[in-house]
Symmetry: C2
Subunit: 299 residues, 2 copies
């Protein structure tokens, strides 16, 4: 059985097909343009692929509540053409199969739970730190939606004492995304992250903000694993700086070996590398397929 | 059927008995002393009450994982006699009934879900702001435990621009609890909270810290309701200040009517007043009773 997977990012889409063993057999990628163009390419890709289900991890905000009339929509985004776009509805008209549907970061968290660094755990956080910052939340064996869905990229953090950058978030100025996303690094230092030397002062400041948000997230949700992905986290010198800063922040308050002795196994890169989102979409599709099968056999 | 309920706080214990309809029929309260004394009083209270189950919401940190050898223990507390105290084990020797067991704040959150301000919802946060600060987390229909359990009272917040108080948390100095718990207010102003006029500058500062932690918690967990209890929240002038500050912080980013038009129904006092913790313990006991019944009838 083939399962379709769509990682629907704000800047690019990745469509793939995989199997029940969690192997991605093929995929393509294209830029995120107007939905007429982009969803057209998605439909073209899956035509004749005969997928048994499709999983989607999408940029947001999106509607996740199955009882909502807008379930499956991208909602209030400023991205041209995508506001109130019936993403799932358009796909369903072409491919009447079961769908998995969640945020891009929740999908990535789920992929890591099923096949990656959080395999077998009942909780984890998945951060993506790149063009923007997002956080997927998996708790007590379930992806967290709540009222809308988590938007942990926009938490407020204390300012680094040596940082007078004002932040670039149009909503919050100096929230986490406003201070630590890729465009913030570039605006602060007039260079892109990958152009800065690995011992540049930028990285200690970057780690400071990320670590503070992780500290607060640990205190609020007590995850079994914290996974850091996205383009900025390709700067692997950040990991030890972040772990050290989280440990400093917690100051021994949380009495758990993971926090005090095994931090290098607690705050980790994605087990699925840069494909956590696509694998996550596959896992969501596979789950939707199995749920549909169970629902049929229960009738 | 009578169900026992224990709200085991760090300064006082409340023991009660209630029924399946969620009515507390009687309760007593006594100070938290050495466990030999305090658990002795608990045992004395429940002797001859013939309860079918007991629910406990306890101060912590506590062990919540059923597979742990220390399940039911209070673990690393500095409170004399309570470190590694086998709380549930001691009770079980006297009353061999099903037990519900969770943190005091998770219990209160659960009480509010079953009979209070979050009735019927699948997610909420319960803050207690008093001698200390704690946060119970209920997400996707489950109390969140994770690696240990949430300790949301100790999140780091930005400093209020007019506040130079250094904070009193022995671990973190100026974390939320260090800046906003009752003893912090007293240390900052040399008066207890209830002695300060309702228009004192203290309350705007207090609301600033609480609102910041709520803002970040909303962004991280997207709760359907935020419930604020505890002694400090008896200062009802705080509610409008907190709601206004949360709205200011979010700045329209989360597109939900609850956040933008109905904030007074979103950030609310406990529906069960100061008894949320005791009702929560009753609800945990009742749940344990039902689970045991179901387990028996499934055999």
């Amino acid at each position: 059985m083939r399962i379709g997977a769509i990682e629907a990012g704000g800047t690019k889409f990745i469509c793939g097909i995989g199997n029940e063993q969690g192997v991605i057999e093929a995929f393509i990628s294209f830029p995120t343009e107007h939905p007429d163009i982009t969803l057209g390419k998605v439909i073209q890709y899956f035509t004749d692929k005969e997928v048994g289900a499709i999983g989607v991890g999408s940029f947001g905000p999106i509607e996740l509540h199955p009882e909502s009339a807008l379930y499956g929509y991208v909602t209030t985004t400023p991205k041209p053409g995508w506001e109130n776009c019936n993403f799932l509805g358009i796909l369903k008209r072409h491919f009447p199969v079961p769908y998995g549907w969640d945020t891009d970061v929740n999908a990535a968290a789920y992929g890591e739970v099923v096949w990656g660094a959080a395999r077998g755990l009942r909780s984890c956080l998945y951060y993506t730190i790149g063009t923007g910052v997002g956080v997927g939340v998996y708790a007590e064996g379930q992806l967290v939606h709540g009222l809308v869905h988590p938007e942990g990229g926009h938490v407020l953090t204390r300012r680094h004492p040596q940082d007078d950058f004002s932040g670039i978030c149009p909503y919050h100025g100096d929230c986490l995304e406003g201070m630590a996303a890729g465009p913030a690094i570039e605006a602060r230092w007039q260079q892109k992250g990958f152009e800065l030397p690995t011992d540049h002062a930028a990285w200690e400041i970057e780690a400071y903000y990320i670590a503070q948000s992780i500290t607060n997230a640990i205190l609020m949700t007590s995850p079994q694993k914290v996974i850091l992905g996205g383009g900025i986290m390709q700067q692997s010198q950040l990991f030890p700086l972040i772990r050290e800063a989280v440990k400093h922040n917690l100051n021994g308050y949380v009495s758990a070996a993971e926090m005090n002795s095994y931090m290098e196994q607690y705050i980790v890169p994605p087990g699925l590398g840069h494909q956590a989102g696509l694998y996550g979409a596959l896992a969501l599709g596979l789950r939707a397929y199995k749920q549909a099968q169970e629902s049929v056999s229960a009738q």
